[in-house]
């Protein structure tokens, strides 16, 4: 099977779905976070393959922005997790239901 843009998009879709599964199934907040990162990575892969197909670098710029936003998100998210762990002594998202979630 020749490697075309379709292959990259399919891989990206599979990785994204695995990330969604992780967000839904895992109970550990850090693992949920890592699954979100996996979804962002899958999106990056799709964007890079589209940029390559169209010969335009805008897609690369979007990937660059996503990576930067992911770094910011991880910094704040992990700070939140640490804060929650300090007060609740747990980061199991099933036990964090004070927001009635």
């Amino acid at each position: 099977m020749p490697v075309t843009i379709d292959t990259y998009v399919i891989v990206s879709m599979v990785l994204f779905s695995l990330g969604v599964m992780g967000v839904m199934l895992r109970r550990n907040a850090i693992l949920v976070f890592m699954s979100v990162e996996l979804m962002l990575n899958a999106t990056n892969l799709a964007l890079a393959s589209f940029a390559n197909q169209w010969g335009s670098e805008s897609g690369h710029l979007f990937v660059f922005f996503i990576i930067t936003v992911a770094a910011a998100e991880v910094a704040v998210g992990l700070a939140l997790i640490v804060a929650i762990f300090r007060s609740k002594k747990s980061i199991n998202i099933d036990e964090l239901h004070q927001m009635e979630g």
């Binding site: 390559n52 805008s58 690369h60 990576i67 199991n92």
Partner: protein
């Protein structure tokens, strides 16, 4: 061979993402995620995105994952999933079941559409719009405007200068040059291919300059530390270009361009960075030296068009036309997906998003500090209070009651009142 490697790396990415999901140890999950990210960095390389591959490895697989691992180890959260409070599965997944079914179904439909339904993504990709620039190499032309059928393209280019590259629709285009001093129109018809760049040159001495359009190559230069040079003859007679090398040895010269007729452009050639001493000579009589590019510096990754022009020294009837060279230098296009290309776009088209991104990063820094600082302060206050009050109090109570008080009282807040009594 490369395709096999790509497929293997894709498979590795998916397998390690799956292992990340199913393993119970959070540290193992993080390590599997790093493998996936490395695989994606390799896929970026195969997609002509070397800069993104570098960023993926340093920022994602490096910085972000270090942060993750640090927090996992700090909280001792590596086995938290196993110690979960048992929630009945039907309660855990009750809300997710219809959503997961719908999403899974959508995924299968989309995969099927991509695999079976031909190639919906494979469309005709349009090339880059052709671009043209205008060079004024006519000393006596005065002000002129270049029109397309749609309107003014370029105007007000002074002598010895070039305009920037402007977009022109692909295909057959009529370009009109309007000389304002003489109110004279001159027309030229050009066929522009997508992705091409060309130059409209207005040249020749006297009141009636000539115009021509030549193809101009500013594509990416593959050779390292070198520039691309082409020569255009805007002089009255055929010329030849030589590299004299040694001032004293006539036999040491190298002929770079044997003969270049007026109004012609030479082949492009690549020159290493450094100073050049090329000399233009009369093609008919090569001992007649016309002009020497004295210590002309060749840059890196430039596209240089050297126009050989005649420049009148005195205006008026008894003008003396002296040969001269006019180098027009532009930077060649940076390689696709490389750091220079990304940097250019960040500083031009994406300046505003880049600024907003900076603000967002600043806000997240402040957020991370505030979130952890407040918690730390509360914890610190509690710890200090307990240390100062409860440790001596236990001793005091033990000595008064007469036997050892091993466990601290349930409510340390009440202890000061007891001491007050």
């Amino acid at each position: 061979m490369l395709e096999l490697v790509i497929v293997l790396v894709m498979a590795l990415a998916i397998v390690s993402a799956f292992l990340m999901l199913i393993t119970n140890n959070a540290v193992h999950s993080a390590l599997f995620l790093i493998v996936t990210m490395m695989c994606i960095a390799f896929l970026f390389l195969t997609l002509n995105a070397p800069f993104l591959a570098m960023i993926q490895i340093t920022v994602y697989a490096g910085a972000i994952m270090v942060l993750f691992l640090f927090v996992i180890m700090l909280l001792g959260a590596d086995k938290l999933d196993a110690a979960t409070v048992e929630t009945p599965p039907e309660r855990r997944y009750r809300l997710f079941l219809p959503l997961a079914t719908a999403l899974g179904f959508a995924l299968i439909v989309m995969l099927g559409a991509v695999i079976l339904g031909g190639r919906p993504l494979d469309r005709e990709v349009p090339g880059r719009t052709p671009q043209i620039r205008v060079i004024n190499a006519a000393p006596d032309a005065g002000e002129f405007e270049v029109h397309t059928p749609d309107g003014v393209l370029v105007s007000g280019v002074p002598f010895r200068e070039a305009s920037a590259f402007v977009d022109v629709p692909a295909g057959e285009t009529r370009l009109l040059v309007h000389f304002e001093a003489q109110d004279r129109m001159q027309e030229i018809s050009v066929a522009l291919e997508p992705n091409s760049t060309s130059t409209l040159i207005v040249y020749g001495e006297g009141a009636e300059p000539q115009i021509t359009v030549v193809a101009d190559d500013i594509s990416t230069i593959e050779e390292s530390r070198s520039s691309r040079v082409a020569v255009f003859n805007a002089y009255g007679t055929p010329i030849s270009m030589i590299d004299p090398r040694s001032e004293f040895d006539e036999n040491d010269t190298i002929v770079l361009i044997p003969e270049l007729a007026p109004g012609q452009i030479s082949d492009t050639f690549y020159v290493e960075t450094g100073a050049i001493d090329w000399t233009f000579v009369n093609a008919a009589n090569t001992s007649e030296r016309l002009f020497r590019l004295n210590e002309h510096e060749i840059g890196i990754d430039d596209s240089e068009l050297i126009l050989f022009i005649g420049e009148p020294t005195i205006s008026g009837a008894n003008a003396i036309v002296r040969p001269s060279a006019l180098p027009i230098i532009v930077e060649a296009r940076p390689s696709f997906g490389g750091p220079r290309a990304i940097g250019y776009m960040l500083f031009t088209d994406f300046m505003l998003p880049f600024q907003l991104l900076g603000l967002l990063l600043l806000a997240s820094m402040v957020g991370a500090i505030v979130l952890t600082h407040r918690e730390a302060e509360r914890a610190k206050g509690r710890g200090v209070g307990r240390r100062r009050v409860s440790r001596p109090l236990v001793n005091v109570i033990a000595s008064q009651v007469g036997h050892e008080v091993t466990t601290a009282t349930e409510e340390p807040a009440q202890l000061p009142e007891k001491m007050g009594e």
